[in-house]
Each structure stands twice: as structure tokens, then as C-alpha cells.
């Protein structure tokens, strides 16, 4: 019990350190053009501080992993909160490894904010330590999930470097297809931020809206009762064929289509709408304040970096992450599935999406090695690849039900 309390504190400390580290990285990148400074010295100095903050944060998170593992009795990879926090841990670990190879501070200016977003995202899920259900009681839980997360973490660094390459190289003096797509990618990142902001704000405010659906379900006591759906966010969209039991801060504008009849389908749609709206507002606000494309806003801070080096780092991360991902998310997964369910492959949605990630990066590698897709094309693919990973981790668990779905938001 005390260990779990300790692990919570350690994770909070890690989160705080990652936030500070991100800010210092931004200062390192943007402050080099401030008056009266030697740009190189400034970047080096603040980059180093930020790097060490990240290292200390990583150590704190290591403490969290160990404490929760010992306190909970199993590796902290058994539900969405634990998994997302562990994935975040792997992203930071991959960054530290890549840093040791290339000694390029500024990768952190992109990876650390990504780490902050992922960790904040994990906080959205229920944090309690639950005992393992029978199907999860296997040492493969530790091996399969940790290796898969490590692979995905390394691929995420490939994404961060790819995104940096695009921001560095996409010409910002004219509006083109590439600038629009780059803005779209940045807007999607802001939607994820928007989701975290909304979710954590409303979780604290207790403005619940409760709906009752026109269908029945057995409760734990064994009697039938009408299905109730609880929204923490204000309702834009109501569940299909339902009535309000407890009114929230606003009346829903419309009802979900009737085929979305899953208990949580409408709530997820509502959450998604809020994320998109908040993301768009954040994006629009930034555009209004700075009066230029976000790509153009960030570009000066990455100006000094050799694009070839970014391309190389992105590719290197993907070529290291790909085998690790294959081992963890496909091979170990197959061995476990064979042991638990008697078949190594069953076309479960999660399995299929792991295969899709693998096929996508296989295509990336063939295009790069055999068709000479380097630079911009390769960078775009690293971005798309990470989007597919996010679909696998988030959408499949929360939207498509399957053997892998955990309790979700």
C-alpha cells in the first residue's frame, strides 16, 4: 500500500520534471536568437540542463515502475493507465539511447513534450491497481507488453525526428500542400492536448450528465435494470434512444445514430467531439496570436540543424525500433496467444492492428532501402506510422471491442 502511494508520488515528480525539461528545451531552442548571447553556447547550456532534467525524471519514473511492480505484484502493464505510462517511459528511454549515439540535444525539444502529452494522457485513465484476471496471469504479460512498448517508444522517437525534419525543411514562404498537411499534423497533436485538458478539467468539476438508455442489463446483484451512461464532459451528443436522468451543464444538441448502440459508443463520440473542438480552438488561438502558420512559428528554432542528420536519426530509430516491435508485439504475442488461447493468431482487432503497424513499417523500410525514399517522403511516413501506432493503442482499445479491450474512457 505504501509502495503504491510512493509510486504515485514518483510518477508525479517525473511528470513535473518532464514538463520543466520541455520548457527548458524550448528556451534552449528559441532563446538562442535573443540579444547579447552566443547562440551556440546558449543552446548547449540550456540543452544540457534540459537533458539532465529529463534524466532525473526518467530515474523517478524508473522508481515508479519498480515501486508499482513490487507493490502491485505484477508489471505495471495490465491496464490502460499502466500501459500508457509505461509507453511514455519507453519513449524517454529511447530518447536517452538516441541521445547517447548522436549527442543531439534538440531531439529532446520534440520528444520531451511528446512524453509529457503521453504521460498526461495516461492520467486520464483509472489509476487503481487491479488484481490480474486469469488470462493475464502469465509471465508473458511482462515480456510481451514491455517489449512491445519499448518498440513503440523507439518508433515514437523516429516520429519526433521525422516531424522535426518536416518542420525544418517544408518551405514556409508559400502555402502548399505540404504546409497544409504539416499544419494538420500539428492540429491533431493539439487535439490530443485538448482532450487531456478537457478530461482532467471536467473530472475535477463534477458536472455529470446521466442518461438512461432504452435497454436493460444485469447489475452485480443479479437483477435487471436500465443501462445508465455517465458523461463527465458536457453532452453535445446523447446516446441513441435515451433520456436524461440527471441534467448536466448543457443540453445535448443531437442524439447518436442508432447503430452506435454500444454502452459507451456515444460517450466516446462526445469525448472525441470535445477534443476536436478544443484542438481547433487551441490551434486557431495560436494562429491568431502569432499570425503565422505553426510550422513557420517553430521553424526558426530548428534552423541550425542539418536536415540529413534528422533524416538519419529518424531512420535509425525506426530501424532499431522495428525489430524490437516485431519481437514484442508480434512474436511474443503469438507465443503467449498459443499458450493462453491455443492459437498463435486469431485475427483479433488488436492483433490485426499490430500486423498493420508492422506491414506499414515494412513498406517504409522497403521504400527507403529499395526505392530511395529518403528525406521528406520518409519523414511523412514516420509521421503516418506513429499515427497508426496511436490508432492501435487508443482507438482499438476504446472503440473496437476485442479480446484486448481494457476498461477505457
Amino acid at each position: 500500500m505504501q509502495l503504491i502511494q510512493l509510486s504515485d508520488w514518483l510518477l508525479d515528480i517525473a511528470f513535473l520534471l518532464y514538463v520543466i525539461s520541455s520548457i527548458v528545451f524550448v528556451v534552449a531552442m528559441t532563446g538562442k536568437n535573443w540579444a547579447g548571447r552566443d547562440p551556440k553556447q546558449h543552446e548547449q547550456r540550456y540543452g544540457r540542463i534540459a537533458y539532465w532534467l529529463a534524466v532525473v525524471g526518467f530515474l523517478a519514473q524508473t522508481g515508479y515502475v519498480v515501486a508499482r511492480w513490487v507493490g502491485g505484484g505484477h508489471s505495471p502493464t495490465s491496464n490502460m493507465f499502466e500501459f500508457m505510462a509505461f509507453l511514455d517511459y519507453c519513449i524517454i528511454l529511447a530518447y536517452l539511447i538516441i541521445y547517447r549515439i548522436y549527442k543531439l540535444n534538440v531531439i529532446g525539444a520534440f520528444v520531451l513534450p511528446l512524453g509529457v502529452i503521453m504521460l498526461a494522457y495516461s492520467y486520464v485513465f483509472p489509476k487503481e491497481v487491479t488484481p490480474l484476471i486469469p488470462s493475464l496471469q502469465s509471465y508473458w504479460l511482462h515480456i510481451h507488453v514491455t517489449t512491445a512498448a519499448l518498440g513503440e517508444g523507439i518508433l515514437a522517437v523516429g516520429f519526433a525526428a521525422g516531424l522535426m525534419y518536416l518542420i525544418r525543411t517544408v518551405p514556409q514562404h508559400v502555402s502548399a500542400r505540404s504546409t497544409k498537411w504539416l499544419e494538420f499534423v500539428l492540429a491533431v497533436v493539439l487535439m490530443l492536448v485538448g482532450f487531456i485538458l478537457m478530461e482532467s478539467t471536467f473530472a475535477r468539476m463534477d458536472h455529470k450528465t446521466i442518461f438512461e438508455m432504452n435497454k436493460e442489463q444485469m447489475n452485480p446483484v443479479g437483477t435487471m435494470e436500465k443501462v445508465r451512461v455517465e458523461y463527465t464532459m458536457p453532452a453535445i451528443v446523447a446516446p441513441a434512444d435515451s433520456k436524461i436522468v440527471q441534467a448536466g451543464p448543457m443540453n445535448p444538441w443531437f442524439a447518436a445514430p442508432s447503430w452506435m448502440e454500444g454502452k459507451d459508443a456515444a460517450r466516446k463520440l462526445n469525448t472525441m467531439l470535445w477534443s476536436v473542438i478544443t484542438g481547433v480552438i487551441l490551434y486557431g488561438g495560436l494562429r491568431l496570436i502569432f499570425r503565422k502558420r505553426l510550422g513557420a512559428l517553430i521553424q526558426p528554432s530548428v534552423e541550425g540543424i542539418e536536415p540529413d542528420l534528422l533524416d538519419e536519426i529518424s531512420y535509425r530509430a525506426i530501424s532499431i525500433g522495428y525489430p524490437v516491435f516485431t519481437l514484442g508485439a508480434l512474436i511474443f504475442a503469438m507465443i503467449w496467444a498459443q499458450e493462453a488461447w491455443g492459437r498463435f493468431w486469431g485475427w483479433d482487432p488488436k492483433e490485426v492492428w499490430a500486423l498493420i503497424v508492422w506491414l506499414f513499417y515494412s513498406a517504409y523500410l522497403h521504400l527507403r532501402l529499395s526505392r530511395g525514399w529518403i528525406g521528406a517522403k520518409s519523414a511523412w511516413m514516420s509521421v503516418i506510422g506513429f499515427v497508426i501506432i496511436l490508432i492501435t493503442l487508443v482507438v482499438v482499445n476504446l472503440v473496437i471491442a476485442g479480446l484486448h479491450s481494457y476498461a477505457g474512457v
Binding site: 503504491i4 491497481v129 488470462s135 452485480p220 508480434l330 512474436i331 503469438m334 486469431g346 485475427w347 532501402l369
Partner: protein, 542 residues
């Protein structure tokens, strides 16, 4: 002059781009990087680039194209994603016994989109002929792509490229050239270069005026090794279609029951089934479960028998115990190739009805207990001296048929109806009683016999999945080879550095298949250490 004959005197096979001996580009006078052949296959003749006439060449060339392979990968990727939009038939959460139920499920649940999805056959997408065809095409492409490249590459790499033509060196991405001071001893310069590179872990090949330093050549085999792994994997998957290689059966076993496992000489008995739940003290943290519970284990204590008479048709089974033990989720019972998995349960099902027979006329005097085994009711049982109970009729899952006659919906005792006859041989009295839905109907209003209900026997029924998959070792082996291949190919690089002297100039060139950043660092280090009078230029390939 024969195009294949290089000016160095070597005769190359048709289709060669770089002379096998001296490395000079053939066919064209190229000195520019843009026109310099790609180094991936060392400028060797590849079958697909050489022969195009016959139909077999066309097929070969089609499948040897990486572009086609990527196309197939993308199509499989998109098709796989489409298969996850709605659940596949096997994952439909409600029972759908007939094809019509399946169709109705998609229409009712997902509307028009669901109807279209079902209509296109996407509910069984991964076993559809076209999806399987795509996988076969990918396998074909894997084999042909690999063969088309690996043979020429093997020939090229087994003969180190030493003493290359200047145009070969100049064609490399990293190239440097510089005038040597007249007093420099060229042989000594090459010696010290060799020594410096050797210290970096390179293997040195030396000629009179040239050295070639090489390391990590084996990483060039990585792609082919991993493709072999994939081919083995796919062969393993296909092998499951051979009769006897793959079996997938599901049996329900009641506690105390022994059932035959179809298509095998084995029988399985369930001695006991139990579900364990996590107690609150065991939980690492307090949870709000609202009266719910979290299961800890699902376990069937089973005995596996083999039938000695399995070979003899019609002969009575002679069962011999081969294994006894628990079957738990994640811990199947293994017997040779056979694996038995705990994969379902129906708990607290009616197993037997218990009554006490009473004599109403004697103030409900107890005559004796009656047990009606709902799976195998005894035709007659003696309750007390001279008093017998006969089962006249039994409907495990009672319904009143349309013709007004009683019938059973299934053969599971979900709603049992039993008609009993009680015979007292001493008085030659007999009475009929019917049990249905928790009450007893008597024949006469003032009958002598009555039934008092006792707690029925409740049993658990284990769902056991029985599988044989003889291809699994090959599939794992293929996966293992694949991993070796990708690790070889991605965690190591093939690096080569050439240093040559020609009439007062020194030429330096380097090539790697990946991580130019690392190679550049090594070459810069070499130039600095030996104080070579050159500046390295790194060309970016268009």
C-alpha cells in the same frame, strides 16, 4: 567491342553494370554520381533485369519487383484494416446459429453499412479467397525477390573489390582525392592506413597500390535471412492445411462426466471445476467494486484417458489414464501434440433434481429420497422396500409443441419436465406425478404420494478447447530466423573504405549500406590521423 568485356580484360555476364573485376561502370562512360549504378547489388547482373522475352521471364520480373511487393503489402494492410471495422463472424458477441442470424446481426446492429459489410463477405474477410490469394502473392514475391538478388550479391561479395577503377571510387557517396607531396612514401601511407583501419575493427585486403578495408559484411545477408524466416513462417501456416497437422475441437464436460475428444483416441473427464475470486486482503489496493468480484482462476481438475481399443471399430472403449491434473487458463494440459485449454464454463447448471417421497396419507411420512439425474435419468429406482419410482417421460428443455404435445427444445436440462410413476408393489398401487417448473402436478387430487423438494445438484460444465498444431515449431523457428535476419541487417552495417594511390595522388572512397553519419565520422578520423591532403566530399543522392 563486346560490351561485356571491360577494358581491364575481364568478361562479365550479360546485364552487369559494374565490372566484376575492376568496378568500372560498363556500357556507358559515367563519371557522375547521378548516373552511377546503385551499390545495393554491387552492379551485378540480375536475372530480372536481363531476360524479358519468355512468359516465365515476365512472371519472374513481375514478382521480383520491390515496387510490386510494396503494392501487395499496402493492399494487405488496407484489407486487414477493413476487417476490423465491424467484428468478424467469430467475434460476434451474441449466439448466431444460422447464416440468416449472422446476416441479421450485421443489419440490425450496424444498419445499411452492416448489410453492405456482410454482403461483401467482409464478416469472414481473413479467410476469404482473395485475402488468402494476396498472402500467397506476397509469399511468391518474397521468394522471387530474394532469389533474384541474393545470388548475384553472393557472387559479388565473395570476391572483395580490391584495386578498383578510379571511376568506381569516384562514384561512391564518400570520395576524396588529393595530391601527395613527392617525398611521401606511398607504400608506407597505405600501411599506416591499413593499421589505423585495422584498429577500428576492419578487415584489410591489400594489393600493391591499394587497400580495401571492410567490416560487417555479414549484415548484407540480413534481408535475405529475414526473408527466409518469413518464408518458413508462411510454409508453417500453409502446413496447417495438411490433414492431421491441425485440429481444433471444443468439448463441454460436466463434472463427473467422461467425454470422447473427437478425431482422437482420447477421452477427458472433469472431476471438478472451480472459479476462484480475489479476496479483498489479497488485493494490493482498495477497490470500488460495487458488489462485483474479480476472478482469480478458472480451473478444471481433469483426467485424460486413452482408448486402447480406438483402432477396433465397434469395440467397447478400454480407457487407460494417461494424465491427471489441473487445466488452468494460461496453463494447458499437454499430451504429445495435443493441448487442452480451459476456455469456457457454465457454472451452477442443474445436474439432478432431488426430492423426498412422502406418504401424504400417513402425515407426510418420509419414504425415501429420489434423485433424478437430468443427464441420464435412471429408468427405475427402488426408494424403500417394495416402493419403486419409474421415469415415464423426460423432456430436458420443455416446451409445449404446436401440435399440443410436449417436446424439448435442446437436450440441455434448462427447463426439465419429468413424468414419474410411483409403484407400491405390496399394495399394487400406482400413481403418476409430473414435475415441471418447480411444482408437482398430481394425477389424483387426493393421492397417496407426494414430493418434497430438496436442493437440486448444481454442476459446473467446463468448456475445453482441444488443439493439435504440429506446424507451431516451424512457425516459431521461422519467426526466430526472421529476428536474426533483421538484427543482422539493422544493428550492424557493411562498411568499406578504399585507399589507393595513383601517380602522385591519393584516392579515398567509402561506402556503407546505412548509417552514413557513423561512417563519415570514421573517415574524418582517418583523414585527420594520417594527415591526408584531401577534403572529403559527401554527395547527396538525388
Amino acid at each position: 567491342m563486346d560490351q561485356r568485356k571491360c577494358e581491364c580484360g575481364h568478361t562479365n555476364p550479360v546485364g552487369t553494370l559494374l565490372c566484376e573485376s575492376c568496378g568500372k561502370p560498363l556500357n556507358v562512360e559515367v563519371y557522375e554520381q547521378t548516373a552511377f549504378p546503385d551499390m545495393r547489388y554491387e552492379g551485378m547482373a540480375r536475372r530480372s533485369q536481363t531476360y524479358t522475352k519468355k512468359w516465365i521471364d515476365r512472371i519472374w520480373n513481375y514478382f521480383s519487383s520491390v515496387k510490386i511487393a510494396i503494392g501487395i503489402i499496402i493492399v494487405i494492410l488496407v484489407a486487414s484494416a477493413v476487417g476490423t471495422i465491424f467484428p468478424q463472424q467469430q467475434y460476434i458477441p451474441v449466439p448466431v446459429p444460422t447464416e440468416a442470424d449472422v446476416a441479421r446481426f450485421y443489419t440490425d446492429t450496424y444498419g445499411v453499412l452492416g448489410t453492405v459489410y456482410y454482403g461483401l463477405g467482409f464478416h469472414n474477410l481473413y479467410s476469404s479467397w482473395w485475402f488468402v490469394t494476396l498472402l500467397v502473392l506476397l509469399g511468391t514475391s518474397l521468394v522471387i525477390c530474394s532469389l533474384d538478388r541474393v545470388i548475384p550479391l553472393y557472387k559479388a561479395l565473395s570476391k572483395p573489390r580490391l584495386n578498383q577503377h578510379k571511376s568506381f571510387l569516384k562514384g561512391q557517396k564518400l570520395f576524396a582525392e588529393g595530391e601527395l607531396a613527392p617525398d611521401v612514401d606511398q607504400a608506407e601511407l597505405l600501411d599506416s592506413s591499413a593499421l589505423a583501419l585495422k584498429k577500428k575493427g576492419y578487415r584489410i585486403f591489400r594489393a600493391e597500390r591499394a587497400i580495401m578495408a571492410e567490416k560487417g559484411r555479414f549484415s548484407r545477408w540480413g534481408p535475405y535471412v529475414n526473408h527466409i524466416g518469413l518464408i518458413l513462417f508462411l510454409i508453417g501456416v500453409l502446413m496447417r492445411n495438411i490433414p492431421g497437422f491441425y485440429m481444433d475441437e471444443f468439448v463441454w464436460v460436466r463434472e463427473g462426466q467422461t467425454v470422447a475428444i473427437p478425431d482422437t483416441p482420447y477421452y477427458i473427464k472433469s472431476e471438478n471445476y472451480h472459479t476462484e475470486y480475489w479476496s479483498e486482503e489479497e488485493m494490493p489496493a482498495k477497490l470500488e467494486l460495487n458488489g462485483g468480484v474479480i476472478p482469480k482462476s478458472f480451473q478444471t481438475d481433469a483426467i485424460l484417458y486413452v482408448n486402447k481399443n480406438a483402432e477396433v471399430p465397434g469395440k467397447k472403449p478400454d480407457l487407460i489414464e494417461v494424465q491427471k491434473g489441473p487445466i488452468i487458463v494460461n496453463h494447458p494440459m499437454m499430451e504429445g501434440d495435443l493441448a487442452i485449454y480451459q476456455s469456457g464454463v457454465q457454472e451452477m447448471q442443474l445436474g439432478a433434481l432431488n426430492f423426498v417421497l412422502v406418504d401424504v396419507k400417513q402425515g407426510n411420512k418420509e419414504l425415501g429420497p429420489i434423485k433424478i439425474d437430468l443427464y441420464n435419468p435412471a429408468a427405475e429406482q427402488e426408494i424403500a422396500a417394495g416402493i419403486k419410482v419409474r421415469v415415464l417421460d423426460y423432456f430436458p428443455d420443455f416446451v409445449m409443441g404446436k401440435d399440443g404435445k410436449p417436446a424439448t427444445q435442446t437436450n440441455l436440462p434448462k427447463n426439465p419436465m419429468v413424468a414419474l410413476e410411483i409403484v407400491d408393489e405390496s399394495t399394487n398401487q400406482n400413481e403418476k406425478l409430473v414435475y415441471l417448473q418447480g411444482s408437482v402436478l398430481t394425477q389424483k387430487s387426493d393421492g397417496r404420494f407426494g414430493l418434497v423438494f430438496k436442493k437440486p445438484d448444481l454442476i459446473d460444465i467446463s468448456g475445453l478447447n482441444v488443439r493439435i498444431d504440429k506446424a507451431v515449431p516451424l512457425i516459431y523457428f521461422g519467426a526466430f530466423i526472421f529476428m536474426i535476419g533483421v538484427v543482422m541487417g539493422f544493428f550492424w552495417q557493411h562498411r568499406r573504405v578504399w585507399v589507393q594511390t595513383q601517380e602522385g595522388t591519393v584516392l579515398l572512397a567509402a561506402h556503407t549500406n546505412k548509417n552514413w553519419f557513423g561512417l563519415r565520422r570514421e573517415v574524418d578520423g582517418l583523414v585527420e590521423q594520417l594527415k591526408l591532403p584531401v577534403t572529403v566530399e559527401e554527395k547527396t543522392k538525388a
